[in-house]
Symmetry: C2
Subunit: 648 residues, 2 copies
């Protein structure tokens, strides 16, 4: 069993900024989601998720209701609660969760099977529709919850449940004749099984992961087609035609073996969940071919298909990638869950490679799309995260059917809110990476943690608003340890001092490695200058040609109608404009806004003018102060226009 | 019966440019479409349209095949043949068409009913599904064909058929208790009945039009819902869900009475066909309320929802309008048929109002989208007419599912090709408008025509390429007549000379009215200076902000990859660049191309650079000669990028 020198589960977050999000998750999101899971939110679509477990457990009579993957909401809630308890114990909440765990245990079948949809609604259909029915996906989430609950509380009850579940699955699937040769339509169990392997040390879970990964996309005949024929061609989803999810194999990255795949394709969440599992497997199994697959697909994704916001999935149809350099800003999908999955994938790559490029993308996703997925009140969520909205046009043009100009309370398909909750509460896992050569500090999130050799590390500052970050060491005796500090890609000239002196270190793959015998009260002072930076798109990105985006630190900024008026497309930021930082007020308290002098095309009563005009004298422009807000905080003041990319 | 002083049907087109299109229609399109209607085109989807008539006539056994509106292809072909015969007699073609007319007559039921889908496939379902089944639409097209055949050849056989059909319909529909109180789901019969009224003088056809128009959108209960309930909720179309065409009443402009409608809405072809009929009715019935409806809806359409190409319908879903100022260039629909319908609507407005704004739009639609709908070879057609394409992205992003980067041979729904054929062959109807006060010359298309008072008019020149247009008068005796010459909106300083002297006239509503006793050999020399003009969008058009389009005369120009390389978004046309005219070669022979010095963003191997870069020095630009081709002629050199709106 791999050792953990640092208990990432109990990194105590003290960050002024993300700490506030953790409080929001604790005080608002988790209770709200608990109400939602129990159908006590009056103006939201019913969830029925807890009820499904009660019915499956035989505690009540009734019908299953909800999505085929409804169970996963309960699992994600449990995981969020687990991580939240690590941050702040709450006996009542823990008791509530323990009751849920009892319920989950009660809903588990004798043979270890666990899924309320099939148990209640279609017990005879177990494992007959992997392509469409999310059975392994739900199992994956429950396994993650079991691992988290054990890591957070030390309690084994849910861990035992999910081990029985995983063992059951390991019996059902495999290469033997009496086993099914399938793999999940929606990957997730791969990364979950690798986590289970890490806490249990039971190698059958890693082998099962390997089986799922290597079996994926092998054909002919294709497993999805085989099971489709076998079950009499029934189909669960018809969004894009009968059995489309069976037929469109690239949608679930199952069109060919992963080893042959060249680019990020299909449903974005499936892609990053899958690759997170593959990267974890590649590292722990020393599998160079799978490592190369991860590198190749990662590179395609971040070099050709990634939004500046850390969003992925440029089209609504299939919530999917489209193709290289095709990144429209207004019809984009960029699901919140996809950026969460991207963080997971990035984190596994970081563990494997120790290269800051993975942390750079992880940070970009976190501080932009992931945070932006939740309203500042913790009660409203985006599923889709556009980089540009024109609310007046949304209701009338069907290319915008998926775009909401303001966050919604809860979704029929409620994957995003609990996913945001669990990633924010488990942020400790992303701050640090423990590798054999060093302890990597990836994110400058304020926190305190204790290495098992007795070294205490406290990171403080006011990231991502302030450029100064302190790392304070406490230790009873001098201890040797290499710390690797990430030098962010957005920062041109980072400076590091040790106890007031310039600190020499070795810059390797984007990390400043400082090897030293640490003394009590050692202090690293890191300065990450955060001038406002202009960002330009690659010349192959047609949707941002001639435009500029504003970034400070890891935060991407945007214009909103509330500050800048309507018709944001008429605003220009001249190349020579200088920027002023502005302390935000009200909902922007403790946030930094940016102002610059720009220009606006003006015209009198344009609605009374013709649509097109000839040979106009140069457009009438007038100076206008432009106010940029951090994009993650857009749409917190009602409906209005927003755009990130501004004409320069 | 209104008198016609000018036989518009026999305006002899001698125009070098459009004349060539007419020849193409005659020599290629009509024969090709005849083959298609008879399923003799091997690489196209079968039509079965003639076969359906043979089966309906009892000449063959078999099943109906094709769209519910398959008959209309035959009707449109007949109409195109009629107009083509006016331009150039062709006894064999006339005989072929006469055989088709015999066949149509044979397929007509005893009671006058005529529709092969219902006669062959579902005789019991006649008139049970107006919302979805195009029965009145097909009747409308056949009525138009009957009128055209009579006007072109003087033969009454098809006219008699369609009068019986119209009489039958007039019996079925109306206000009486034993009549149906419905109206067409797809308007068309309104404009057809008004044409039938004009040639027959039978006022029941105008009254029936009035009934259909005034009945439209009246509720509750809504007629579509009533018939839907009555037939047991069966539905013919399921594209957007069961019975969507019944439910989405605005799709067919039936959500409320026309008198209450404020903006162009729904399926664009339906909208313009309907309004063409309403405008015709308003004029001949002196109906001021309907005139106001036409003015109001026209104004909304052209001032807020019209593409620079004369295209309408900004979204694929529903082939429909979206909302004011929402005109995306790449996901646009802009169906060829919609621009043809727009010409028809414009023509009726022109007849009613004598205002050049209608001719301006008509001309814009003709010389851009309508011509662009057909390849220069007459064998390939666009259904959808984008203003910008990036072919590499089309197959992978579903927002482009409807966009084809090159013209297709024939469509399963083959509405556009025969519609283009009939409008090009009947262009005489658009060149002139006979009004009580004057003969209006709308389009400077070369032609010769004879007024019934003996005045011969010959228009010559090389429009739209050359600025000089001559109008030559021949008459045996001096004759008084007012000619009204359109002064195009794109032309700043038109000049008109009469027999070498500056010609004074009265400029009224965009027409220069010249009242005079014309002498034999009088000559008007019109000079319409055609400098290359830069066109800018209204500040409310966000998709063209910061961009410029190039227009010369009525022609909108575009950049194509074949001349300018890939990544057209990296090209800029500086505000001070001057334009050079260039005589085209090869497929561009007799066409004027435009060149200007522009710049291109350059970068080495952009595919090896990151997606985003910070604080770049101003983009590296290099000079590049930009070559603009007339947009109607794009995509005649294989697949490639194209764009109309260029960064300035």
């Amino acid at each position: 069993m791999p050792s953990q020198e640092l208990d990432l589960n109990h990194v105590h977050v003290s960050d002024p900024f993300l700490g506030q999000y953790q409080r929001l998750v604790r005080d608002v999101v988790i209770p709200y989601q608990w109400d939602a899971l129990n159908d006590r939110v009056s103006d939201a679509e019913p969830s029925h998720a807890i009820e499904n477990f009660r019915i499956a457990a035989g505690l009540e009579n009734g019908e299953f209701y909800g999505m085929v993957f409804q169970d996963s909401d309960v699992a994600k809630w449990l995981e969020a609660v687990a991580w939240s308890l690590c941050q702040k114990p709450d006996r009542e909440l823990e008791r509530t969760a323990d009751h849920v765990i009892e319920l989950v245990e009660a809903a588990q079948c004798e043979d270890g099977y666990l899924n309320t949809y099939f148990t209640v609604k279609a017990p005879q259909d177990r494992w007959t529709n992997l392509a469409e029915c999310h059975e392994l996906y739900c199992a994956g989430h429950m396994i993650e919850a079991g691992v988290a609950w054990f890591q957070a509380t030390g309690k084994r009850r849910l861990l035992n449940v999910v081990c029985r579940l995983a063992d059951h699955i390991d019996g059902v699937f495999g290469p033997h004749e009496n086993q099914l040769h399938g793999y999940p339509g929606h990957p997730e169990i791969e990364l979950a099984l690798m986590r289970l392997y890490e806490v249990t040390g039971n190698s059958r879970y890693m082998k099962l992961t390997q089986y799922f990964v290597e079996q994926r996309g092998s054909h002919p005949p294709h497993y999805y087609d085989e099971e489709y024929e076998k079950r009499g061609k029934t189909s669960y989803w018809n969004t894009y035609g009968p059995a489309w999810m069976v037929k469109d194999k690239a949608y679930s990255q199952a069109h060919e073996p992963l080893a042959l795949q060249q680019s990020a394709i299909g449903h974005a969440v499936r892609f990053v969940y899958l690759l997170a599992g593959v990267a974890h497997l590649a590292r722990l199994n020393n599998d160079e071919e799978k490592r190369q697959t991860c590198l190749r697909l990662w590179n395609n994704m971040v070099q050709r298909q990634l939004y500046i916001t850390g969003g992925i999935g440029s089209q609504s149809s299939g919530e999917a990638f489209s193709s290289d350099y095709d990144l429209p800003n207004d019809t984009v999908y960029a699901e919140s869950c996809a950026s969460i999955g991207l963080m997971m994938f990035a984190n596994r790559m970081l563990q494997m490679e120790g290269d800051s490029q993975y942390a750079d993308v992880m940070e970009r996703a976190l501080y932009n799309t992931v945070l932006g997925g939740m309203a500042l009140d913790g009660r409203h969520f985006f599923y889709v995260n556009p980089l540009e909205v024109h609310p007046k046009s949304i209701p009338f043009n069907h290319i915008y059917d998926h775009v909401k100009p303001i966050r919604q309370r809860w979704f029929g398909c409620a994957c995003c809110p609990p996913n945001i909750a669990r990633i924010l509460t488990s942020i400790g896992h992303y701050i640090y990476t423990q590798r054999s050569n060093a302890l990597y500090i990836n994110l400058y999130v304020g926190n305190e943690t204790l290495l098992d050799n007795g070294l205490k590390i406290a990171i403080s500052g006011n990231y991502p608003w302030d450029e100064n970050v302190s790392v304070h060491i406490r230790t009873e005796k001098p201890l040797h340890q290499t710390l690797a500090l990430r030098m962010p890609e957005w920062c041109e000239k980072p400076r590091v001092q040790l106890n007031g002196e310039t600190c020499e270190g070795l810059l390797q793959r984007g990390y400043l490695h400082i090897a030293r015998e640490w003394q009590d009260d050692d202090r690293l002072e890191i300065v990450l200058p955060m001038p406002v930076r202009r960002v330009y798109g690659n010349p192959l990105l047609r949707h941002v040609a001639g435009k500029v985006a504003i970034q400070r630190g890891p935060l991407v900024y945007c214009l909103e109608q509330a500050d800048n008026g309507t018709e944001l497309h008429n605003l220009t930021l001249p190349p020579n404009s200088t920027f002023t930082l502005l302390e935000g007020k009200g909902i922007f308290a403790h946030k930094t806004l940016i102002q610059a002098t720009g220009t606006r095309v003006i015209s009198e009563e344009p609605q009374n003018q013709p649509l097109y005009r000839y040979d106009a004298a140069p457009e009438q422009q007038q100076e206008q102060k432009l106010t940029f807000i951090p994009w993650f905080s857009w749409a917190n003041r009602g409906e209005g226009e927003m755009r990130i990319w501004v004409r320069e």
